[in-house]
Point group: C2
Chain length 430, copies 2
């Protein structure tokens, strides 16, 4: 198999810092670092295993705090070389953790409510985090083309990161993608290929390409680089804890697409506990889906361990994965931590986007609306405890999903340019 051949040829010279091996999340078998994504024994998904840094927690904290204002401050905990900050990369992360007091008042939260606002990343979504790590893996394995299938955020993140890193990029999209998204993906000047078919067809085609000599030298960030790529989401856990003063939040609400982000945030929390960087105390992880694509929420509510695929139909397109690869792991984590998984409908998503904008001046993507909408629902249902510290993720930018709010975000009034007209409109007094 082409993929394994590449791995065998390159592992000897691979320097990915503390990353020691790939290990199977199902059977635990270990493999040398390489562009592998499935266990050769049981076909389970692979993840990065580490030799975590030695030394006292205080030393490590100091080292991190003296690092750059981006994810590379956590290089000792990531599958990247020690000199990663010197290499050309998109340098995402260390986005704002906004203390959302106005929103807290509206929701009746008294224990501290925070929004982790990843719209501050270079291409304005959390995807910059995962792609930045994939870039380093691509370099380590000698890949010259960075690729992915995408319907939105990922395309821009790959195009931008490849441009900065000096890699060629080739992004595959469904041929009938909305014009705005095509432009956002194409502007970085890489190859952008429309595939005549739907997103499933695009993915199928990419899988074929990976196994074919035509795809030699290609790193597909979310396929053959997936074990590395996924680790980028751990940085959300690190940043949240550091920004809370090296403390775990009591509760965190995370959107679910494939579910990878949620599992990696849990992994990040566990690593910080193991390293003594935060106190080991209980935290609850909540997952958020849109009703129109809620396979994990449905399984959680039904008490199932397996996730039954759905055909997505929601405005939250960046979460519209009907058969989420990490669904079962998400269910485990939500149950283990005493959290939950729930969903809201599209109208609630729009309401939540506008609630966040109105109270905190943060214009989130539909995924952010899903997450805040579920947070509100779970607070009202008494599932999320309003007296505890709660973090809500906003993983993307409202500018990319303007259509979701356009019908209800319009001028309050249209008047002639005269004081009389203004007086008649009744907008003068506060």
């Amino acid at each position: 198999m082409a993929v394994q051949t590449i791995a065998e040829n390159t592992t000897s010279s691979v320097d990915l810092g503390p990353a020691a091996a790939l290990s199977c999340r199902e059977c635990g078998e270990r493999f040398e670092l390489g562009p592998l994504f499935a266990c050769a024994s049981c076909f389970g998904p692979l993840e990065v295993a580490y030799d975590l840094p030695a030394g006292s927690p205080e030393e490590l904290k100091k080292r991190i705090e003296a690092g750059p204002n981006n994810i590379w401050r956590y290089a000792p905990l990531l599958p990247v070389p020690a000199d990663v900050a010197e290499k050309p990369n998109i340098n995402p992360g260390f986005t704002k953790l906004v203390k959302a007091d106005n929103l807290a008042r509206e929701l009746g939260v008294t224990g501290g409510l925070y929004v982790k606002d990843d719209s501050g990343n270079p291409t304005h979504s959390f995807k910059d985090r995962v792609v930045a790590i994939a870039v380093e893996a691509a370099r380590a394995f000698g890949f010259t083309t960075l690729s992915c299938s995408s319907t939105g955020n990922l395309a821009g993140a790959v195009g931008a990161a490849a441009a900065r890193a000096g890699l060629r990029s080739c992004v595959f999209i469904p041929h009938d993608l909305e014009q705005g998204k095509v432009v956002m993906a194409a502007v970085y000047g890489g190859e952008l290929v429309g595939i005549e078919g739907n997103y499933d067809d695009v993915n199928r085609f990419c899988s074929e390409l990976i196994g074919d000599p035509l795809g030699e030298g290609w790193g597909f960030v979310n396929v053959n680089l997936r074990p590395y790529y996924g680790e980028g989401s751990k940085t959300l856990a690190y940043e949240i804890c550091e920004q809370l003063g090296w403390k775990l939040p009591d509760q965190i609400v995370i959107p679910i697409a494939s579910g990878s982000q949620l599992t990696k945030i849990d992994k990040g929390f566990q690593e910080l506990i193991k390293l003594g960087l935060v106190e080991d105390r209980p935290y609850k992880i909540f997952g958020a889906q849109a009703e129109g694509c809620s396979p994990v929420s449905a399984a959680f509510k039904a008490g199932h361990d397996v996730v039954r695929p759905q055909k997505p139909n929601t405005i939250a397109k960046s979460l519209a994965i009907g058969n989420p690869a990490d669904g079962p792991y998400v269910l485990d984590i939500a149950r283990r931590t005493g959290g939950a998984v729930d969903d809201v409908n599209d109208e609630q998503v729009v309401d939540a986007i506008k609630l966040l904008a109105r109270t905190e001046g943060i214009f989130g993507e539909t995924a952010g609306g899903v997450t805040l909408g579920v947070t509100k629902k779970l607070i009202e249902a008494g599932v999320i405890d309003p007296t505890l510290t709660t973090v809500v993720l906003n993983t993307g930018d409202g500018l990319k999903t303007l259509d979701a709010v356009s019908a209800t975000s319009q001028a309050t009034a249209t008047i002639k340019p005269s004081l009389d007209a203004f007086r008649a409109a009744g907008l003068a007094s506060a």
Copy 2:
């Protein structure tokens, strides 16, 4: 006059940190801090005068470096109270200064080329900096409504900042503004009023409103709060110098709309020199305009001291001010520092946007395209020295001006989902 009455009533209790007074940029007369914008003696524009902090440069540096990762780290140099970071505000700034090595190679710059990327601000333009300061002034003067006239970036910045600060907002726009921009302004939930007329009509109406009892309690960020608002642009100078290791750049290229930003960056550099935070050595300031709105560039080339108004016609709408208030000051600064003012046409603007995206993964607004386009032109003309350190400003986000690049940013190919089709498209090899 209503404005002066408010000033007289409020100055006694005003705490705006090191801001000591307003002083006239023409005749030097000083006024107590208040919502004033024109000199009562000569009608010249007012600006903030400071009691700058005492103490050694090293102490001040340390204090700044220990501050938050936003403009409030410079609170000792801004017209804001000392506890500003504790108040709800949008907290912009400390955006990336990107070492643009790929771009430098393409442009033949060997002395170090940097892009100050203000698309990383909360609403993705530099306007967040100026509005954040205006919010503090509004609070200090007891205003309850934050207002402005706008055709784009400013509307979003005011809406977002007012939401966070707990102020009411009322933004005035031309009634026929593009749908996307209306949505971006309306989503924060403030009042958004379409005025039947063009942008000049909107401005005229706002001026009437400020002088009328209907506008009592209203802070127009770019009118009666303008002296404070403008100071926000100084933070660009502070950040650039700090990020260069407390050094002045040799050359800096800045877009010109009203010209305020350019004059304030010069003011910021001068303050840092005076405080001993940077070595006092020559720097050159270059101004960039779009050909379709180039009154300052035209005056510079003609050797004039006055700026003849133009009727704007350019895709760089955020720079389309035909009668720039600070034009004469810009001419002074460009000439005093040995810089220049130049312009590029819309095609060059688009090319520059795409050049920046392709080389550095930064998708800038049309204003960024203007600035980089002029940089390229002046390097080619031998006016900007490629052997010296050069900083180029990107003041906004490409997501807000997608139309500018949509015609030329499209898929490279559209194919059927098969390896044969992919092979035929000739995209396989690097």
